[in-house]
């Protein structure tokens, strides 16, 4: 279950006339952690959305194992897991329900989903908070719940957008360890961050400035 997500010369933006990113190419490989860095507004989220199939590039392509990623539904089917920047948790659900619902929605049986939910919340240190509503969690707890949900899905590609921004050092390390574990499991992990320390633990780093990208570390 190892795969490669390749971004080839994409130009992407939110309106047709202006592009946020121009002619960007990068490859996320199975077993590796790729950091996407850049100042705020540089386009990290935009790139991850394009990789997640949620934003269609105006030119160039996003492919997984040579097959283009058509849209988000297609990406989901091909197990491209996306942890969005602001968690994307449903506020009316509890932390546990958020994980459980998405697991079942992705085809896990209810029984397995229950077990996996408990495990993944445990792994981010939220075993106690499983029954709490999202809005009753602290910002960092919400972030960890979103990570737990992403990890529970055991994706082929894991796109994590600023998942450590609200965490203390201990928890940040725990999350980074978990992402590393994902890579070790064989997933291609992409981590958007402006935290240099987080970027440092990655195998490669793509730096975005003014809509262009530069691979500052790792192989192209």
């Amino acid at each position: 279950m190892s795969a490669t997500l390749a971004v080839e010369h994409i130009t992407v933006g939110y309106t047709s006339d202006s592009a946020v990113l121009r002619d960007i190419s990068v490859v996320a490989r199975a077993g590796e952690l790729l950091a996407v860095t850049g100042s705020s507004g540089a386009g990290k989220t935009t790139l991850l959305r394009a990789m997640a199939g949620s934003l269609r590039p105006s030119s160039g392509s996003v492919t997984m194992d040579g097959q283009p990623v058509r849209d988000r539904d297609d990406a989901i089917a091909r197990r491209i897991v996306w942890m969005p920047q602001h968690n994307g948790l449903a506020p009316i659900l509890t932390a546990g329900e958020n994980v459980h619902v998405i697991l079942v929605a992705n085809g896990t049986s209810p029984d397995d989903a229950r077990r996996i939910t408990a495990e993944s919340l445990e792994s981010v240190g939220l075993a106690e908070q499983a029954g709490q509503l999202v809005e009753e969690l602290s910002g960092g707890q919400q972030q960890r719940a979103a990570i737990a949900r992403g990890l529970a899905l055991r994706g082929v590609v894991v796109l994590a957008d600023e998942v450590t921004s609200e965490l203390d050092a201990v928890n940040r390390q725990r999350v980074l360890d978990l992402l590393r574990a994902e890579a070790r499991r064989g997933a291609a992990v992409v981590l958007a961050t402006h935290d240099p320390e987080a970027a440092a633990v990655c195998d490669a780093e793509l730096h975005l400035t003014d809509g262009t990208a530069e691979l500052v570390r790792g192989k192209a």
């Binding site: 619902v101 929605a105 809005e135």
Partner: protein, 983 residues
Amino acid sequence: MLRLVLAALRYRGGATLALFLLGVVAVAAGVAVPLYTMAADRFAVESEFRHAAPVDRSIAITSQTPVIDSVEYSLQTLVTEVRESAPQQELTAITGILNRGIALDSTQELWSASPLAVRPGACEHVRMTGKCPEAANEALVSTSTLSRLGLSGLDGEFRYNLAGSPEPLILRVVGSYEPELNTDRDSFWAGRPQLVPQPLRVANPVFTPIQTFETADVESIYATVDLVITGPDWPYEQLGDLRIDMTKAAAENGYELNDGLPFLLRNIQQARDRLRISAPLGAVTLLLLALAILILAAGHLARGRQRENALGVLRGTLGRHRFFLMRGPTLVVLLIGAPFGAAAGWLLVRALTLTVFGDEGPLPMSWQALAAGGVVLFLAMVGVVATERSRRSGPLLEALRGVPPRQRRTGLILDFVVAALALAAIGQTLFGEQNTTSAGVALAAPILAAVTLGLLATRLVRPTATLLGGARLRRGRLVSGLAAIQLARRPGAAQVVALVVICVALVGLTADAWDRTAREATAQAVAQLGAQQVLTVAAESRPALLAATHKADPEGKWAMAVSRARLGHGRTMIAVDTARLGVASGYDTAQLLRQLHPPVNAPIVVQGTGLVLETTLLEAVAPTPVTAVLLGPDGATVTATALIAAQAGDQAVEIPVPACAKGCRLAWFSFERSPDEIQLKGLRQSGPDKVLLTGPAMASAARWRASFDLASEVTITAKDDTVSLRYRPADTRRISRDIRLQVADAPLPLPVAVVGPRELEETQEMSADSLFTGVERPIAVVRTFDSLAGVPADGVLVDLEYTDRIADSVDNAAELQVWLGPAAPDDAIDRLQAAGLVLVRADSVAERAARGRLSGDGLGLRLQLIAAALAVALALLAILVLADTDRRNRVAELVSLREQGLSWHRVRRVAHAGYLGVVVAALPVALVACAVAWWLAKAHLSLFSVAPPLLATALVMMAAAWWADHRVARAVAAPGLTAEAGQ
């Protein structure tokens, strides 16, 4: 600052619009309630006034006034005197003269007891042929009087014996008249039975100008001053004082006072009271609902803004500015909406008065209405500020994250208060006195119960749905699980449940109350009218009425003759053809017949062309005329006079009665003076000859009686097979020239059935009454009822035939009716007219019920109806507002679920199960609340009348919810999520 506020308004356009509408509706309700209540009150008064009998709308003053200088002067003096105690402009004074007397033809054999009346303007109130009398001794005579007197056409002359005047008048007929058909409703006549011209009535008044009296050399006249209330806009509060003043003046000056004003006053008061009880309830329901919904919606808008506010705090925006940012938008919207609301409220009431009351008169905006609107606006603003403050006071971080506040203690207190109120009201309904049957009042407890259940549902819906939703999710049922969880945790979902429950219950209750009012109005109409259809008719006499109904309906299956008359002390008498009481429902005719129509002396029936009176004169006197009064087979009066010759000894006096070949009932013999020396020995008829009474039968004391008005002055002696009578006037100034030997063929005392307590049968409380007219006659209560058909509250039921026989009069001044039962044929009216009756008016239960629905409870209920309709409209708006403020969050939530892999068709179903799910979940609770409310309201529940409005309510609510959900679904539906959705 204003720019900031306006920007904030624009930001949530839909919700702002809805809030605006809610504000408009709330203020409109506030304005409409007093406006409608006032309009309804006016309508109720007007309607009572319009339907009041003329006698109830006037004070009739009669005074025997000496003529000093001129008749005119005497009249003027009286009017001035009366006006001193009744100066009100709203009272029109109709001044005239009404003198008793007898009109006689030239032979002096044909007569009519028509009063001689002076009444300026009378010519305009009858259908006249010829001209209106202007000069002395000119007369306007009714056609029925003319034909009785044997006068045909105009320019005839007749003699008029004015009571109390020695010299007869010779009057010349210059015009003849027919009464207008609605004459008994014409207040011009002030409800004076002697004066009101009636079709077929022989004793209709003879009208003459005042000059006749001026030249007639009379010592005194019976002057009449009738104070008539001409329009409904009368300061009824003054009536009490006016009556006291008038009564005092009457006692001081010796007037005879006759008025039905207390009846009118009582009816108006009752109508107003019932309105006062029932109207505010609907109004208060509506107002409270409008306010509650408004505040609820405002609260949600504020929640939408709490993030902005929190950001404001962070950025250090001035408190004052934040105040405007937070509350400004809502308050501005409410303020802008207020004038529209006032206008809408006015329009609503205008539409109602036009359609319901048919009242096109002006509808001025009253200050009470504006004040009520202002109060509602103020309450709304205070409520909004208070809710927004509570929204704002939470922790800053939670506000930033958009965390909804937990259940507050104030909410629980509110629930508790409502529940306590409901319990109190329920207790009152279940165990309190059952003396009020008002549908309006009966609604209070059920409505409160429904509100309580609604609030209870709000409390229960959350835990239940959470449990259920959690269970569904655990079993992998995502759609139903998420739907249940939405119901549990969506902000406002619980309130929507409460709204649906309250609205549905309100609609159900109102529908039932509406239905019930209709049924009660029908029942009341039946009780008031007495029968399915009641015809007011004119007939020559009461026996003529009886005869005509028997002719039209020989088997007695559908028509019953009834005569109504107002008695003293507020009672109304109905004299009926007792054997036909089956036409009115609910009587044991056979028993009543035994009680009210016991066997008595057989009437003396002449079936020949002459009546022979065998007499003995003890000594020679002047020839004495004797008049026989009989009633013909069709109820026509037959009178004939013969002279008893002067010589002493036996003498058979033949009185020719050619009209009696088919049979007449002898009513009385009348002598002009006391026949002291005449002994009556026997009674025969001629052509064919037949002995009617002789010997002991003739001389039986029980066979004869004196007329009631001379009962103490006339002595009847029956002995030695002869009867004689002697008249000794008690007051030599008032000497009667109508000394009667009446045939006793009716029970005395007259048996009556009355509405009242059983004790009336034992006590002597009701032992005499004047019945149709004149002095009191002995009566005996033989039966009591809780209610009598046609006279439910204050009735006296008597047998028409017997009561007529002791009326000592052939006049028909009382109101004559024919009651038609359900078996009446379609051409019933035609048949009755063919039998000789003149139709004056027809009243049916249906019409009367329709009128009943427009009075008291019915009027109040209309407000309740509007309250229910508006409550539904408001609830719809509230659902839309909630949905609108919540939409952004729902879309974001569903989009992120989709982004994480929840498939589109599931997301769509979850979206569609949003508010629709809430409404659908609320419906069973609503039905339970409805059932409880019905039970408390002791509803009769005709499915036919309650099901359609309930169904409609449920459907529109579901439709609104569906639409709100559909908008969410559409926003989430962006194909493949290739672009940011939901923003």
